[in-house]
Point group: D2
Chain length 355, copies 4
Amino acid sequence: MFSHAEGLSSMVVKVAINGYGTIGKRVADAIDAQDDMEIVGVTKTRPSFGCDLAVRKGFPLYCTFDTDEKIAAFAPAGYDCKGGLSDLLAIADIVVDCSPGKVGAQNKEIYDNAGIKHIFQGGEKHAMTGMSYTSSGNHSENMNVQGTRVVSCNTTGLSRTLVPLLHACGSLSVECTMIRRAADPGDSSKGPINAIKPVLKVPSHHGPDVMTVRPEISINSLAVAVPTTIMHVHAIVATLPEGHGMTTESVLALWSEQPRVLIMNGSETGITTTAEVMEFSRDIGRKWGDLHEIFVWEDGVKLDGNNLYYFQAIHQESDVIPENVDAIRALMGLESDWKASVLKTDEAIAAYNGL
Amino acid sequence: MFSHAEGLSSMVVKVAINGYGTIGKRVADAIDAQDDMEIVGVTKTRPSFGCDLAVRKGFPLYCTFDTDEKIAAFAPAGYDCKGGLSDLLAIADIVVDCSPGKVGAQNKEIYDNAGIKHIFQGGEKHAMTGMSYTSSGNHSENMNVQGTRVVSCNTTGLSRTLVPLLHACGSLSVECTMIRRAADPGDSSKGPINAIKPVLKVPSHHGPDVMTVRPEISINSLAVAVPTTIMHVHAIVATLPEGHGMTTESVLALWSEQPRVLIMNGSETGITTTAEVMEFSRDIGRKWGDLHEIFVWEDGVKLDGNNLYYFQAIHQESDVIPENVDAIRALMGLESDWKASVLKTDEAIAAYNGL
Amino acid sequence: MFSHAEGLSSMVVKVAINGYGTIGKRVADAIDAQDDMEIVGVTKTRPSFGCDLAVRKGFPLYCTFDTDEKIAAFAPAGYDCKGGLSDLLAIADIVVDCSPGKVGAQNKEIYDNAGIKHIFQGGEKHAMTGMSYTSSGNHSENMNVQGTRVVSCNTTGLSRTLVPLLHACGSLSVECTMIRRAADPGDSSKGPINAIKPVLKVPSHHGPDVMTVRPEISINSLAVAVPTTIMHVHAIVATLPEGHGMTTESVLALWSEQPRVLIMNGSETGITTTAEVMEFSRDIGRKWGDLHEIFVWEDGVKLDGNNLYYFQAIHQESDVIPENVDAIRALMGLESDWKASVLKTDEAIAAYNGL
Amino acid sequence: MFSHAEGLSSMVVKVAINGYGTIGKRVADAIDAQDDMEIVGVTKTRPSFGCDLAVRKGFPLYCTFDTDEKIAAFAPAGYDCKGGLSDLLAIADIVVDCSPGKVGAQNKEIYDNAGIKHIFQGGEKHAMTGMSYTSSGNHSENMNVQGTRVVSCNTTGLSRTLVPLLHACGSLSVECTMIRRAADPGDSSKGPINAIKPVLKVPSHHGPDVMTVRPEISINSLAVAVPTTIMHVHAIVATLPEGHGMTTESVLALWSEQPRVLIMNGSETGITTTAEVMEFSRDIGRKWGDLHEIFVWEDGVKLDGNNLYYFQAIHQESDVIPENVDAIRALMGLESDWKASVLKTDEAIAAYNGL
């Protein structure tokens, strides 16, 4: 009995969140909803209003740094800081790095020295760990590895719809134009207010990043930023190989079986822009109004010869959240079947959301 | 025993929602969270995607109209329509009218003929029922009346901060400029995209509407619409009477004791625009990311002689939601103490939201 | 001498503008600047503020309709209306139809009955006249025809950069994503304010319209509307035929020789979005701040194997303006060399603008 | 003859522009259009794309700094730099400082040392020169002074409508809410994209700045920034003294006689937002589509007892431009009658614009 209880206990993976911001706060909640993992602490760089959310959620608070001075700064502001990053890593099995992009390299060294498994986000380069991750793309290749990178919201979105096409057709050549939101909803400093901003480096880095999870997909992309805060939209032309045997209907059928792909008909539902997509997410009661799924307009899909044209909308703040949960399962060797992990993750999140 | 059970049962007020849209869906959820009232049905004009939400929530679905043809149209679309508006009114104690503005007059006649108590929203005129309502403004005057109108989001917001000032000072003269969001978040059709639109009727109707709940407040307003979707902002100059004895600090202290007024310091929290206010609402886990409270920036309040300057932000989709619950209690004679009703309403909603 | 003078005089083509709005007012000005054509009248549907501009410019004002009542309505409003459309057509050699889209069919019949040459705009269908026009695409095919259609701003823009590529390479296969401004600068009614709206009909009609001027170009397109008022942006992937022999540099060299294509380096000039492109247009003193040229970012062009990636920005209000002038020359048989016409048109406009 | 020629020559004031940006480029053009002043040079900090405009206009180019190295940097970039700021000041009678806000203090010292008359812009503090200027407010007080400050676009706008009211009524108490554009049209970096940003310092500094030109006007203001690029809007409540004798009509009549105030009826003209106001400016052919006038909606003016309610729209890029010309005349002692100066300035600019 006792050993059984111990066994059960040891099955609950202890997770540290390094960086409790836009992504970190969501990943923490999603992990908290699972029964095979738990949050043992989250970090903030300094006592700030953002600490309140961690306190409200009951997540132990740590300092991003190990210096006594920085740790001590929390108490006068009324926050109970449990220690520095090293203290947190010492009690965790794995760390999810949600720090701002480009500080990963120095964190990598810390994690390696601590001998702790680690997951970075899409703002970091693939080369840092040599592994990247999407649930549908390469879960099994990530089983039991020491470190990986959950790819960006855009790459995650592309993986959701392109990987099943790849499996169905054998090969795939893709051109994608990304129409990107220029700032997140809670960010009031960034523009433009009235302009379109092309990413002049062409082709852009966004599309080829898909190849870090499925190198068989040949893909390029162009990107522009536009004055909206709520979603990215991808305009995609996927060229299927000769003799693909697909139809518009069979593509839709294929996607409808995929987890985390949501297909709705714009003219039937009135969901014709990203505004109505986000309103739908608010209606179904998701935390923060998030949409973990990739949204595909059924009436915006058309296979024309070998060219498949479609639009998909990406909720930039949240589509990677459940993928982080699955990635923890892969790295910790908890579940080798990606669909089983996805099912478990999503059921727990949905229950948590009261749906 | 039997009679006791009946007694308990009779204490749960049966509420009909006529019009299950932006306001209706929120009011229904808020009522559903209370233990002294329940939703017996919601109406839609026709089978449409919006019915799905009612089904998901488990609210019985009725047709806004009584014609057999319109009622019968729901079944082929896969929705179980229980009947027409008359059928719904027949089983309800009170109806909350959340239909689009300006159709109230014809509905008023229907409700009067059905002999049912009724609550309209701020899009209708005060004259229709001769009564208006805000929780802090005139709850007791609305006790046991047959019909009333919960005032608009703007008037509700003004009532929250001005009524306590009125009580503290005895009289009040106010000029308010309303900087209004031009469209709701889920509305992709309305502009402007890059312009400011003044409401050329000056003074505007918005401010004086406060006098329908507290005629002692002398108030005028100017209004403009601007290209944002998330909140209105009020820029207010309230002139206190000579010898008012108030200070900036005492005004803040007064408001901090008021229900549904949230005071935060912009420079300390980083919440300096409506973007961060809404992000805060998402963080605290409110359904739809709603903010029922009026948001006042502590560092944007200044009493300069007799003139009190301040800004407040209004979540146009939701500040009236809890007021509808309180209004039901007033009309049904359930609770005569407005603060007791507010406390009960808000605790139930907060519990419902998992906070 | 006398006959010579008469000869000169008869060379000045008399042009009617039917519809003096966003496009009409600009075309009128551009024609007014030429020495081989003149405006003999412009039409408005009714006395309105827009008539003032015609009066200020000195263009004779006519009514879009022939009914006495409608013509008589102008005088009380203080406008001198010279008559109805028929009166105008009777004194003109050619009419440029700048009426709102989709009313062309009925106008076509009027023009045919009047036996007058006519030019429609891109809002009308190619089939109506069976001819379409861009200066660089098919000027010679439009010589002396009775009626044609100057294609839309988007098609005009595509023609400017794709036709030279076609001539250089022999064939061309193109995918274009159009990121479109959702409303014009002077339009305050249209949204969305905060959303991306995909055109769900895929592929969209925009790209293939290029084939009405150069059928050899194989092209498809996807389109989205975004919350900006100032320019469209095209994200283009043009696949050159095997053995094309082009380089990124040779493509840029080719375009730099084309009229009405403006190539600038974003990182060198700081012109990195459509905001700075439009500011540049204001700086060079163009009327209305217009940019007749297609703007290509030099550092956003890259030939990668056979795929040419590039962005171009389209001033939706004005790129077709000089093309209308050239189209008049084609239809009236004034100039068979398209480059000569373009040079003449642009020099006159530039002089007119005081540059 | 010779002395007469010298005399004529000495009547043309030689003006230096220090800082050739958004304001500088417009002031230079406006001065260039006058017959009693001329541009002898404009400065840029370094060789950049902005120099092209100066070259195109034919204005001699100088470096903002005097160091040889910085001056020498222009030649390699292809620009003919005539020297440093000191060289320019040595040949000028007066300098208009259009450098970015807050660098005025150090420039003040340079001008004082050079003994040259100088005009700062509204980004600098009144205290620096102890003098401020608007054409209608205090032209005569600025006659022959050594240095002054042309106030900001907002203060200039308030002065245009409030000073005549002050003269008509004897005293005036004003509350103004400023709804400000968050970025200029050519600026793609600033946000917010979807938020309203109150200026939390209340009352704001904007309104009281009017008192630097007419201290008799008692005024306070509140300000918010909104996601638009094209104009500020002021929502104003001006309280007239008891026994003022004014009516809505007499106020409109008063303003209609004022230079640089444009009164139009929104419902008659369809000009109901800042979008249509700016389109009107483009239509009348102003350079950059500028509107030097303050735009007042006739149907948005209402005198209600002693309170005058009205809206006015301010073109933030240009309303101060003609005031700089008038200020030069004041400081140089050229014209003591402000209306005569305004008339001369505006006629020259209008002619220059080809109207």
